[in-house]
């Protein structure tokens, strides 16, 4: 394994997520696909983890298992619970997953409404995250009135407002143009710095992984395994545009690129 084993790192919090021997096989007719096999991972409390890897390496499957959307075929996931009232995880999905039939405000308040949080508290929380996500003026807008970038802000705000212990992000910015992407990465960092949640973030972009994370996990092709675990030590708060001028950035970028390249299947 390349890179430092981060679970031994003194600066990180206690172990939040332990994944041991996790496997997931999809069967459809006679065809079976093994998305994950004997997958192990430790994630510490408050860590921002990015996962990069070729398509079909099971990274989305991993996230969907953590989100409670898939059941594993084997192995186990243990998650250390904090105080009992907070939801375990909230996911920011790949495509636009914002409900078109709810106003922006009600999308952001979705998790709170499901849990029956009292009205005043709910409204204050929603207003707070609308403000943080740069959506203050759009609370009463319908999603169809928003651009793709604005919709993803809603999706991010919805996940943060739900105040989960773990935030799961499945290529949330992949479909956005470069400029919007950088703005949203910066805003995600700002939002995250206020809450310091444990984040698992999937991306195809090495840039994005380096800008956001404390650790980058490079996965190999199907079935997915962790090929390398790379610590990203840039000081926080980070500024996306400055970071890219850093010499260390280029070096890490190149290292990850080589790992992906030698794993054979890129894209």
């Amino acid at each position: 394994m390349l890179g430092a084993s981060a679970s031994n790192d003194k600066r990180a919090g206690p172990v939040k997520i332990s994944i041991d021997g996790l496997s997931k096989t999809f069967a459809s007719g006679k065809l079976t696909v093994t998305a994950l096999d004997a997958f192990d991972l430790r994630i510490n409390e408050g860590e921002f983890i990015c996962i990069v890897g070729p398509s079909g390496c099971g990274k989305t499957t991993l996230l969907r298992i953590l989100a409670g959307l898939e059941t594993p075929t084997g192995g186990e996931v243990r998650i250390a619970r904090g105080d009992g009232n907070r939801p375990l995880s909230s996911m920011v999905f790949q495509e636009s997953s914002v409900f078109p039939w709810m106003r922006v405000r009600d999308n952001v308040g979705y998790g709170l409404d499901l849990r029956g949080i009292d009205r005043g508290m709910r409204d204050r929380t929603v207003a707070h995250f609308l403000e943080l996500a740069g959506l203050a003026r759009f609370g009463d807008a319908w999603p169809h009135q928003l651009s793709g970038g604005m919709k993803q802000r809603v999706s991010v705000a919805r996940a943060f407002a739900n105040d989960p212990e773990i935030l799961l992000m499945d290529e949330p910015f992949a479909a956005l143009d470069e400029q919007t992407k950088i703005i949203l990465q910066q805003e995600l960092l700002r939002l995250w710095s206020e809450t310091r949640k444990t984040v698992l973030f999937i991306t195809h972009s090495i840039d994005e992984a380096l800008v956001l994370s404390d650790r980058v996990l490079v996965m190999s092709g199907r079935p997915g395994r962790v090929r390398a675990d790379i610590r990203v030590d840039f000081a926080r708060p980070r500024f996306v545009h400055e970071l890219k001028a850093d010499a260390g950035f280029g070096r890490l970028w190149h290292e990850i690129w080589r790992l992906l390249d030698s794993s054979g299947k890129l894209v």
Partner: protein, 278 residues
């Protein structure tokens, strides 16, 4: 400067009145039936049409006023409206509930769909004799037959709406911890609502067709009864009056349904709306 192409604002002189009127779709939509009625009137007055079958619009209008003032028309209209409304609710409510549940449950879908699909192609009015055997000649059999006609339209539309929900929305509901009931309320129902409204519009149209036929039997009230009676006593003007009112009823109910949809489905993008940039 012979090779110059100019694109400039429209000349200040406006188009002629005629061109402005023909360009207005609203005006044309109103004007064409009026012209048709005028032609009909002229043809009837000139005896080009047989007044036994096609009485002049003016005489039909006179009959409409008479029947309205005598109270006969409002009473018949009231009965038909009542039958349609009760039958509609009896059909649409179970159709929406069943459509939602079956849409999200593959098991129930596999269990019930073949039966429902097998009954669907039967012309609903062909079931009316059976319905009358079971429920008698009274009001119940009319509600039931209207309900059955409405049910199928609304059910299949609702089912299509739920089955076509993008799966990611249901994933969001699951991930955010929605209970089954919450998933229906916050995702399945609102996502299927435009389809449900389409089904209700089709269902209302079907309800009118069925009720007019059903009112031939076991009642002396209703627009359908008016039509059948005027056939028996050869009073064609009454028949036209009833036909006009049925048509207006159909048109009005569609407008009402559209207005309700516009209130409840505000989130659907209207064509030409603007999006806000990041």
């Amino acid at each position: 400067m012979s090779n110059e192409v100019r694109i400039s604002a429209q000349a200040a002189k406006g188009p002629s009145l005629f061109r402005r009127l023909t360009a207005s779709h609203g005006f044309m939509a109103v004007a064409s039936p009026i012209v048709l009625l005028l032609l009909w009137e002229v043809a009837a007055q000139a005896r080009l049409l047989d007044p036994r079958f096609f009485p002049a619009p003016s005489s039909v209008l006179g009959e409409l006023v008479t029947l309205t003032l005598s109270g006969e028309l409002p009473i018949n209209l009231g009965w038909t409206v009542q039958r349609v409304l009760i039958g509609f609710v009896c059909g649409a409510v179970p159709a929406i509930l069943l459509g939602l549940v079956m849409g999200l449950s593959p098991l129930l879908n596999a269990l019930l769909r073949p039966t429902i699909a097998a009954i669907y192609p039967i012309p609903k009015i062909a079931l009316f004799p059976l319905i009358m055997l079971i429920f008698g000649l009274g009001e119940t059999s009319k509600w039931v037959i209207v309900g059955i006609a409405v049910f199928f339209q609304v059910f299949f539309s609702t089912l299509a709406g739920v089955v076509n929900i993008e799966h990611i929305y249901l994933d969001v509901a699951t991930n955010f911890g929605a209970s089954r009931w919450q998933a229906y309320r916050t995702v399945a129902l609102p996502a299927a609502l435009p389809f449900i409204f389409t089904g209700c519009q089709l269902g209302l149209g079907m309800a009118l067709i069925v009720v007019v036929v059903a009112e031939q039997f076991g009642t002396k009230l209703g627009l359908g009864f008016m039509i059948w009676r005027s056939w028996q006593i050869f009073e064609v003007r009454d028949m036209f009056v009833a036909l006009i009112v049925v048509a207006l009823l159909g048109y009005g109910s569609q407008l009402a349904m559209l207005a309700l949809e516009r209130r409840l489905v505000q989130w659907k993008p209207k064509s030409g709306s603007q999006e806000v940039k990041t």
